[in-house]
C-alpha cells in the first residue's frame, strides 16, 4: 500500500485552495504516488501547469515547478524539454486550458511526439472563473455562459490527440484513483507525447449548476459509468451509450522529437 510521501508535497502551502470535494486533490495525489513509483530522482522531475484550478497543483508539489500562462503550458514545456531532455516533465492542464485556448499547442505537441506527460484534469467546466462551459462540457449541460445548456459537441480529447499524432492515450478518473495512478506510471514510462484525461468532479460550479449532487454523488456516478477498455471492446454502440471507457486506449511506438533532434546533431540522449 503506497503511502503518499509527504516529501513530494509542499506541506507549508497546505491546506490548498480547492473547494471541499473538488477532484483536483485526488488527481494530484495520484500523480504524486505515480511519480514516487517511477523512482525518478526528485531533482529531475518538473511539474509544468497552465492557468486554472487544477494548474494550481504545481505550487503544492515539491519539485521544480513552472506555473505558466493560460493554454501555453505545453509550449513552455517544449522549450524546457528541448533544453534539458533528461528532465521528466508532467504538464497539468484543465479541460479549457488544454483544449480551448491551448488547443493549437496540444495538437502540435502531439504531432511532434515530444516526450511530455500531459495530464488533463477534465471537470467539464472553467472552475477558476466561476463555471463557464469548456470544449469538453457535454452537450446540453448548463454553465454560467450556457444558461440554457451548451449547444456545441465536446471534443473526444483522446481521439483528437491520436489524430494529431500523440502516441499514448489513456483515460482515468478521480473515482478510481488507484487505476489513475497506474495509468500515469504507464504514461511516464512511455517515450513520446502521452495524454491522460482524468475525469474529476467539480461539485461547486459544474455539479451544483447541473444538479448532479455533491462530490460523493458525482464520484459514485463516475464510477458506475466507468468501463474498462477490455469490457467495452465487446459492447455495442447502444450499450456504451453513456459509459466512459477507462484505461489505455492506445500506445504506439514512434520517434520521439527531442531524441530525434539530438541524434540529428550527433548527440545521442536515448
Amino acid at each position: 500500500m503506497e503511502q503518499l510521501t509527504q516529501d513530494f508535497l509542499r506541506t507549508k502551502k497546505l491546506p490548498h485552495i480547492w473547494c471541499p470535494g473538488c477532484g483536483n486533490g485526488i488527481v494530484t495525489a495520484a500523480l504524486v504516488r505515480a511519480i514516487e513509483r517511477t523512482g525518478y530522482d526528485q531533482k529531475d522531475v518538473v511539474i509544468v501547469s497552465g492557468i486554472g484550478c487544477s494548474s494550481r497543483a504545481a505550487g503544492y508539489l515539491n519539485f521544480n515547478t513552472l506555473h505558466t500562462t493560460h493554454g501555453r503550458a505545453l509550449a513552455f514545456a517544449t522549450g524546457l524539454k528541448m533544453a534539458r531532455p533528461e528532465l521528466k516533465l508532467f504538464v497539468i492542464m484543465g479541460d479549457g486550458d488544454c483544449s480551448a485556448i491551448g488547443g493549437n499547442h496540444f495538437i502540435h505537441s502531439a504531432r511532434r511526439n515530444i516526450d511530455l506527460n500531459a495530464i488533463i484534469v477534465n471537470n467539464h467546466i472553467y472552475g477558476m472563473t466561476g463555471g463557464q462551459h469548456s470544449p469538453l462540457t457535454p452537450t446540453g449541460k448548463k454553465a454560467t455562459t450556457a444558461p440554457r445548456g451548451t449547444l456545441e459537441r465536446p471534443f473526444d480529447l483522446l481521439e483528437l490527440a491520436r489524430g494529431a499524432g500523440a502516441t499514448f492515450g489513456a483515460k482515468g478518473n478521480a473515482a478510481q484513483p488507484r487505476q489513475l495512478e497506474q495509468l500515469i506510471i504507464r504514461a511516464a514510462n512511455h517515450k513520446g507525447f502521452s495524454v491522460i484525461e482524468a475525469l474529476s468532479p467539480c461539485p461547486i460550479a459544474y455539479g451544483r449548476r447541473n444538479k448532479l449532487g455533491g462530490a460523493v454523488d458525482m464520484l459514485r456516478d463516475m464510477k458506475e459509468k466507468s468501463i474498462s477498455v477490455e469490457r467495452a471492446a465487446n459492447m455495442d454502440e447502444e450499450e456504451l451509450e453513456d459509459r466512459t471507457i477507462n484505461g489505455v486506449l492506445y500506445s504506439i511506438d514512434a520517434p520521439e522529437f527531442a531524441e530525434a533532434y539530438y541524434h540529428s546533431i550527433g548527440k545521442d540522449i536515448g
Binding site: 519539485f63 501555453r72 513552455f76 522549450g79 533544453a83 493549437n104 499547442h105 502540435h108 533532434y261 548527440k267
Partner: protein, 374 residues
C-alpha cells in the same frame, strides 16, 4: 584583442551571429517577413554547434518555448515582426514578472495590421514599451546598422542574463535586410556564465538583490509563476509584498541605467539645431550632419539613440539646454517625439518630422527642415 576580419553581412544575420557569439544556443521562432532570415540563420548555425533550433506552431508558442528553455539554463533568442510581436506580448510580460532572461528581436515593418510586410517603418516603438499589460520595465535597443545589430544583440543577451530581464532588439526592415561590411572579432567573446554553484540560502527572488537564475534540475525546488510572488516564487496577493515586488523589478534597471541607456552624439559641441532619432533614420540624419557640420561648420548635431527604452531622459534634458530646436524624424506619425518633448521641458522647441508611406526619410527632407530653423 581578438583579431578582426571584415565580412559582408545582413542585419538579420548579424543578430543571429551576435546571439551565438554571446552564448545563445536555443532559438524558437515562427516565419514572418521581414525577420525570417534570423530563423533561417539559426536553423543552419545552431545544429552545427550542438544548439537547439525549433520552429513552433505560432509566435505565442515561440515566446513560451524560449522562456521554458531559459529556465532550463540555456541562453535563448526569438525573432519576429509586428503581427508576431503583438502575439508574443502576454508571454513577454510573463518573462518580465518571473524574471527569466531572454532576447526578442522585432524587425519592424509598415503597420498597422498586415500593413506593407516588406516596407520599413518605426511604428512599434510604443508597443515595444507598452505592448504587454501592466507597469512593467523593459529594455529596448534600436540598432542603426548591421554592425550595431551584431553588438547590440550581444549586449542584449548579456544584460538579459545579468539582470534576469527580457530585452528587445528593435530593428526595422531596412536594418534587417540591408547588407554592409562588418568587422567581426575572431575567437570567443567574454561571455558571462550563469553559475549553478550557488549559496545554500539561495532564493530565486532574493529581497536583498539580484541572484542568478539556478536552472531547473539542480535540486533547488523553487516555483516560477506569473502571479506576484514571494522570495521563493510562491504566489502572494499581500499588498505590501506586491508593491515591493513591482518596485524591485524597476529598481533592477534603474541601478544599471548607465550600462543600459546607450546613445551617441556627432556634430557641433554647441548645436543650435539638433536631430534626435534612432534606427535606420540615423543613417539619413548622419549624412545631413556630416555635410552641415563637418563640411560647413554649421551648429548642427545628431544624438542617435541605441536605447529607446528606458528612455534617455538625461541626455535629452542636457541637449535641450544646449540647442534651440530639436528635430525628431521618425517613420511613424509621431511616437518617440512625445518623450523628447516631455524631457526637453520647454528648454528647446521640439519639431516632429514624420514619414509613414513605407519609404525611408531621406537626407534632403531632414536638411530642409534643419535649414528652416538655422
Amino acid at each position: 584583442m581578438p583579431e578582426t576580419k571584415p565580412v559582408l553581412m545582413q542585419g538579420n544575420e548579424a543578430c543571429a551571429v551576435g546571439a551565438i557569439a554571446a552564448g545563445v544556443r536555443f532559438y524558437a521562432g515562427y516565419p514572418i517577413t521581414p525577420s525570417t532570415e534570423v530563423a533561417e540563420q539559426m536553423a543552419a548555425k545552431l545544429p552545427e554547434i550542438g544548439g537547439v533550433f525549433i520552429q513552433m506552431e505560432d509566435e505565442i508558442a515561440s515566446m513560451a518555448a524560449v522562456i521554458g528553455a531559459s529556465i532550463g539554463g540555456m541562453r535563448t533568442l526569438t525573432a519576429t515582426s509586428g503581427p508576431g510581436f503583438s502575439l508574443k506580448q502576454e508571454n513577454l510580460g510573463y518573462a518580465i514578472m518571473a524574471e527569466i532572461p531572454c532576447v526578442v528581436v522585432n524587425v519592424q515593418r509598415m503597420g498597422p495590421s498586415t500593413g506593407v510586410p516588406t516596407a520599413p517603418a518605426q511604428g512599434d516603438v510604443m508597443q515595444a514599451r507598452w505592448g504587454t499589460h501592466g507597469d512593467h520595465p523593459i529594455i529596448v535597443f534600436t540598432p542603426a546598422s548591421v554592425y550595431e545589430s551584431y553588438y547590440l544583440t550581444i549586449a542584449a543577451v548579456n544584460l538579459s542574463q545579468k539582470l534576469r530581464q527580457p530585452v528587445i532588439v528593435l530593428l526595422d526592415e531596412v536594418i534587417g535586410h540591408m547588407r554592409e561590411k562588418v568587422t567581426i572579432p575572431e575567437g570567443k567573446l567574454m561571455v558571462e556564465k550563469s553559475s549553478d554553484k550557488v549559496p545554500s540560502d539561495w532564493k530565486p527572488y532574493d529581497e536583498k538583490g539580484l541572484t542568478p537564475l539556478v536552472p531547473f534540475g539542480f535540486g533547488h525546488y523553487y516555483h516560477v509563476t506569473g502571479l506576484f510572488h514571494d522570495q521563493y516564487g510562491f504566489p502572494t496577493g499581500d499588498p505590501p509584498q506586491v508593491e515591493r515586488a513591482l518596485d524591485r523589478l524597476h529598481e533592477k534597471l534603474e541601478k544599471y541605467r548607465d550600462e543600459i541607456v546607450l546613445t551617441n552624439y556627432i556634430g557641433h559641441k554647441e548645436p543650435r539645431v539638433a536631430i534626435v532619432t534612432y534606427g535606420c533614420t540615423v543613417r539619413s540624419a548622419r549624412s545631413v550632419v556630416k555635410k552641415a557640420y563637418w563640411q560647413n561648420r554649421l551648429p548642427v548635431g545628431l544624438l542617435s539613440l541605441q536605447t529607446v527604452w528606458p528612455f534617455p531622459a538625461k541626455e535629452i534634458e542636457a541637449l535641450a539646454k544646449q540647442a534651440d530646436v530639436i528635430i525628431v524624424p521618425e517613420m511613424n506619425r509621431g511616437q518617440l517625439v512625445g518623450e523628447v518633448e516631455r524631457y526637453a521641458c520647454g528648454e528647446a522647441k521640439v519639431v516632429p518630422l514624420n514619414r509613414y508611406d513605407g519609404e525611408m526619410i531621406n537626407p534632403d527632407q531632414i536638411s530642409e527642415e534643419v535649414g528652416r530653423w538655422l
